[in-house]
C-alpha cells in the first residue's frame, strides 16, 4: 500500500494481559521502525528491521517486549504482561532505504495502548 497501516487504532488491556500491535509498511520499503510516544511528546525508539531481520534493537525493553517482521505478513510488536507504564501511542514507520535519496521515514497513524 501507499501508506503505513497500523492496527488496531486503540487497544485497552488489563494489567498483566498481552498486547499485540500490527504494522503493514509501505510496499517496497525495506526498513521498519517502532517508536513509543509517551506523555504525549516523548518519542522513544524501540526497534528497527531490515526486511525480516532485526536491524537495531537497542531501545527494546528486554523482558516483556518482542517484535517480528515475517515475509508476507504485517510486522508485529507484542507486549507480554502489560504494565501501566506501557500506556502510550506506538508508532510504526517505514523507509525505502537510507541512502541520500531516500532518507525519510513514513509514519503510520499509531496504536493507542491503554493499560488499566
Amino acid at each position: 500500500g501507499e501508506e503505513v497501516a497500523q492496527t488496531p487504532k486503540h487497544l485497552v488491556r488489563g494489567e498483566g494481559q498481552k498486547a499485540k500491535l500490527y504494522c503493514a509498511p509501505i510496499k517496497g520499503h525495506s526498513y521498519v521502525f517502532w517508536y513509543q510516544q509517551v506523555l504525549k511528546n516523548e518519542f522513544k525508539f524501540l526497534i528497527s528491521f531490515q526486511n525480516e531481520n532485526v536491524f537495531d534493537e537497542t531501545g527494546m525493553p528486554k523482558e516483556r517486549f518482542s517484535a517480528k517482521c515475517l515475509p508476507n505478513s504485517p510486522c508485529s510488536l507484542e507486549i507480554q504482561a502489560t504494565k501501566l507504564e506501557d500506556s502510550a501511542v506506538y508508532f510504526c514507520a517505514s523507509s525505502q532505504s537510507w541512502d541520500r535519496m531516500n532518507t525519510e521515514a513514513f509514519f503510520g497513524q499509531g496504536t493507542r495502548l491503554t493499560v488499566v
Binding site: V4, Y31, F33, Y35, N41, E42, F43, F45, S48, F55, D56, T58, G59, F91, A93, S95, W98, R100, T103, E104, A105, F106, F107, G108, Q109, G110
Partner: protein, 115 residues
C-alpha cells in the same frame, strides 16, 4: 549520544504573522535533520529534511528551515501562518555514521495559531 532540544514547548501566534520554531542538536558531526508535524490523533508527516547541500531547505505548506552547523541549529520558519498550521511540530536527528538509521526526537513545540 545525540540529543535534540526544542526549547519552546508552546508558541502562540496570530494568523498571518511569521513564526520560528527553534531546534538545536547536540553534536557537530554530520547529521541528517528533519521536521515533522503531528495533527491531533494523527501520525507524523514530514515537512522537510536536510541531508546535505544548501543550508536553506524548503518544505511543504510554505515552511522552510535553515541548517546552521556552527550553531548546531535547524530552526523552522513560516512567513505567514494559517489557523490550519495549529499542530505539534517535532525536530528529529539521524546520525548517518551510526549505522542505525533511527531518529532522535525533540520533545515537540505546540504551535497555536490564533484568529
Amino acid at each position: 549520544a545525540q540529543s535534540v532540544t526544542q526549547l519552546d514547548s508552546q508558541v502562540p501566534v496570530f494568523e498571518e504573522a511569521p513564526v520560528e520554531l527553534r531546534c538545536n542538536y547536540s553534536s557537530s558531526v554530520s547529521v541528517y535533520l528533519f521536521w515533522y508535524v503531528q495533527y491531533p490523533n494523527q501520525g507524523l508527516q514530514l515537512l522537510l529534511k536536510y541531508l546535505s547541500g544548501s543550508t536553506l531547505v524548503k518544505g511543504i505548506n510554505g515552511f522552510e528551515a535553515e541548517f546552521n552547523k556552527s550553531q548546531t541549529s535547524f530552526h523552522l520558519r513560516k512567513p505567514s501562518v494559517h489557523i490550519s498550521d495549529t499542530a505539534e511540530y517535532f525536530c528529529a536527528v539521524s546520525d548517518p555514521t551510526s549505522g542505525t538509521y533511527k531518529y532522535i526526537f525533540g520533545t515537540g513545540t505546540r504551535l497555536k495559531v490564533l484568529a
